[in-house]
């Protein structure tokens, strides 16, 4: 009888050798004359255990990891195809505490199913949200999203239902759904995992959005750094088209929705929604003034819903299980779950989907197991390169939008980058300004000029004597204030946050006397 073996095709797993492992398992099975069926699933998100191989047994899926090519022969010798004991054996996948304690709603299928198989998707509750939406009036779909409390997961946390309502109420001959898949924040990879591990859920979510606001055309704006996701999305779109889940007559409903993937070209600013729309129109990715809101005048001047991958992918389960089901997770005004991404210097990095309200400490020490280097945690950057650096003393902050705003931080897209005590926070502050200078679209002066001046002022603080340091710190704080208050979008408006947080919480790194050059 054929045994099913799962080897992830997730880009990160592949970066650690998953393709070679899959090939080795196939070869070894062939030479031993064993009937093995290899499925390339997404990643379960336990990245310190990748490549993590799973075997389907009557008791459930059994995991082994991290598996290298050199381990494959040993796994066969240990009869891993029947759940045999090996040093790499992790037990039943679903029972691994790191995974079992999570609340996976958006990520329910990622790592479980074959991302290329629509049948596998359907067998795991796929397209049930669309089926429900097809029986509803557009306004009722929008109401369900509003009632769920879902807020934009791209970073700005704007209530999705309100955005959709604005677009629904706008009248036009053409409307668009745009998926922002320009996941440029360092420390974030949840969009990538969804697109590679469960692409149909995003297609379903976008189709529902189309029905809700009356849009017949959608674009996924994907960053060029994600070639694996591009292939996965393209394959899924082709399949969905062939099986009438996309096209002129979705599931025989007479409703149309067409979807296309468009590639970005390495500009961080195109993650900002209006600059993304400019880019989709074939222009320089320069930020637009708001108003008009994209929901009223967006892509090609038409009403457009633009949401992040996770937001749109989550709509499917909200329509399937109802808004109350989703809203019951979470705390305060932060409803539902957030796929957190543990990254950087952490022992057990990976994807942790939990209801809002988990503390940063529980995440980093509990799930993360502390730093990879074994040294103390000194700083944590949450929410990408524009997020504040949080000192170890604030690790008990609960992860929800309001609690983070209260300490001057932001949850953003849920990326958490951990630094140990060897980090030089003056260098991190300098990088924040340098990055802003490199990626500024150039439209507004505070961002375009301010970021370059910011790098220079930080250099003078680091190099100067005490008086020079004091003088330039005043200047830097003043510059940051100008950028925060005067920039057109979040790039210039928030790049000062990591800088100011470094100054406030890690002042000693700026105060250090410059080391004498050895003569």
């Amino acid at each position: 009888m054929s045994v099913t073996v799962y080897v992830p095709c997730d880009a990160s797993a592949v970066s650690l050798g998953a393709d070679a492992v899959a090939k080795a398992i196939e070869c070894e099975a062939g030479s031993r004359n064993l009937d093995v069926h290899i499925v390339r699933n997404g990643s379960r998100g336990l990245y310190w255990l990748e490549p993590m191989v799973e075997v389907a047994t009557p008791a459930g899926r059994v995991a082994y990891g991290p598996v290298q090519v050199t381990d494959v022969m040993g796994l066969f010798d240990a009869d891993f195809l029947h759940g045999g004991v090996d040093v790499l054996k992790l037990g039943l996948t679903e029972e691994i505490p790191w995974l079992k304690s999570q609340q996976r709603l958006t990520f329910a299928r990622v790592g479980v199913i074959d991302p290329r198989s629509l049948d596998d998707y359907l067998a795991h509750d796929g397209y049930r949200g669309l089926a429900a939406a097809l029986k509803m009036e557009p306004a009722a779909i929008v109401q369900a999203v509003t009632d769920s409390g879902l807020r934009g997961r791209g970073g700005a946390a704007f209530p999705a239902g309100i955005k959709w309502k604005t677009c629904l109420d706008a009248s036009a001959d053409q409307k668009y759904i745009v998926c922002n898949a320009d996941e440029g924040d360092s420390g974030t990879y949840s969009d990538r995992m969804i697109m590679e591990g469960d692409p149909f859920v995003l297609i379903e979510g976008m189709t529902i959005a189309g029905l809700a606001v009356g849009a017949t055309r959608g674009y996924i704006y994907l960053r060029v750094e994600y070639p694996h996701a591009q292939r996965a999305l393209q394959a899924a779109i082709d399949t969905a088209k062939a099986r009438s889940y996309l096209g002129d007559n979705i599931c025989g409903s007479g409703k149309a929705f067409h979807l296309e993937v468009r590639m970005g070209a390495g500009a961080y600013i195109c993650g900002e929604e209006t600059s993304l729309l400019e880019s989709l129109e074939g222009k320089r990715g320069q930020v637009r003034f708001k108003p008009p809101l994209p929901a009223i005048q967006g892509l090609f001047g038409k009403p457009t819903v633009i949401n992040n991958v996770i937001t749109l992918a989550t709509v499917s389960i909200i329509l399937d299980r109802g808004p109350a089901f989703y809203r019951d997770y979470g705390t305060g005004k932060s409803r539902g779950t957030l796929p957190l991404q543990l990254a950087g210097n952490v022992k057990q990095p990976g994807l942790v989907e939990r209801a809002f309200g988990l503390s940063l400490r529980e995440l980093i020490e509990g799930y993360g197991g502390g730093t990879a280097t074994g040294r103390p945690v000194r700083a944590v950057q949450v929410g990408g390169p524009l997020g504040a650096y949080i000192p170890a003393s604030q690790l008990d902050t609960p992860i929800d939008y309001e609690a983070f705003a209260a300490i001057g931080g932001m949850v953003g897209h849920g990326g958490v980058v951990v630094f140990d005590d060897t980090v030089d926070m003056a260098a991190q502050a300098r990088f924040a300004m340098e990055f802003c200078a490199i990626e500024s679209c150039g439209k507004c002066t505070p961002c375009r000029i301010g970021s370059t001046r910011g790098v220079e002022v930080i250099d003078r603080i680091v190099a100067g004597d005490a008086a020079e340091k004091a003088r330039n710190e005043v200047l830097l704080r003043d510059l940051c204030q100008t950028m925060v208050a005067g920039s057109l979008c979040a790039l210039g408006g928030m790049a000062p946050f990591p800088v100011l947080s470094a100054l406030d919480h890690f002042h000693e790194d700026f105060a250090r006397e410059k080391q004498q050059e050895p003569s």
Binding site: S12, E183, S186, D191, G264, G282, Q286, N345
Partner: protein, 166 residues
């Protein structure tokens, strides 16, 4: 964007490059917002977007040369000069920094004898910085020819370089 006035004559252009561009524009120019897909198409076909293709692309899309030039130069990914045979994209964003990307960067530059945006003397490698490859759980990361690599160290970089030389 304003439509360009009809251009009587285009600057001289190599036949091979001209054909490659026209092949791409013929396929893609009628879709809305066609310029980025076209520039991707040209770069995929030729490895870069040669300066001399800009007037041709502008004519095919009925845009001004300035419009096309503006777009080509806005995006880090598009290049107007040929790269080496292979491009190494080395991540220098925060997550990779926390795991020693700066040291790795220094090593890679020294080993290849180039700075960012430069090509090795033998024309084999071009080194480019990138700000996040989405491999932040396996930092530091780099990508070569669409192949992602994680948990890079100076040693694993040297080992990779050696295996590529064979």
């Amino acid at each position: 964007m304003k439509p360009a006035k009809a251009i009587a004559s285009l600057p001289p252009i190599d036949d091979r490059i001209r054909d490659a561009v026209l092949d791409v524009t013929a396929r893609l120019k009628d879709q809305p917002g066609a310029l980025l897909p076209i520039l991707h198409g040209v770069q995929n076909a030729l490895g870069y977007v040669p300066e001399e293709t800009i007037p041709l692309i502008a004519r095919e899309l009925n845009l001004s040369r300035a419009d096309v030039h503006g777009v080509v130069t806005f995006y880090h990914y598009f290049r107007t000069h040929p790269a080496g045979q292979r491009i190494i994209y080395l991540c220098r964003a925060e997550s990779c920094q926390s795991m020693g990307a700066a040291k790795l960067e220094q090593h890679v530059k020294q080993r290849l004898g180039v700075d960012f945006h430069q090509t090795t003397v033998d024309g084999t490698f071009t080194l480019e910085p990138v700000y996040c490859l989405g491999n932040c759980a396996c930092s530091p990361a780099m990508m070569v020819d669409g192949q992602l690599k994680g948990r890079m160290t100076p040693e694993s970089f040297d080992a990779w370089l050696l295996s590529e030389a064979k």
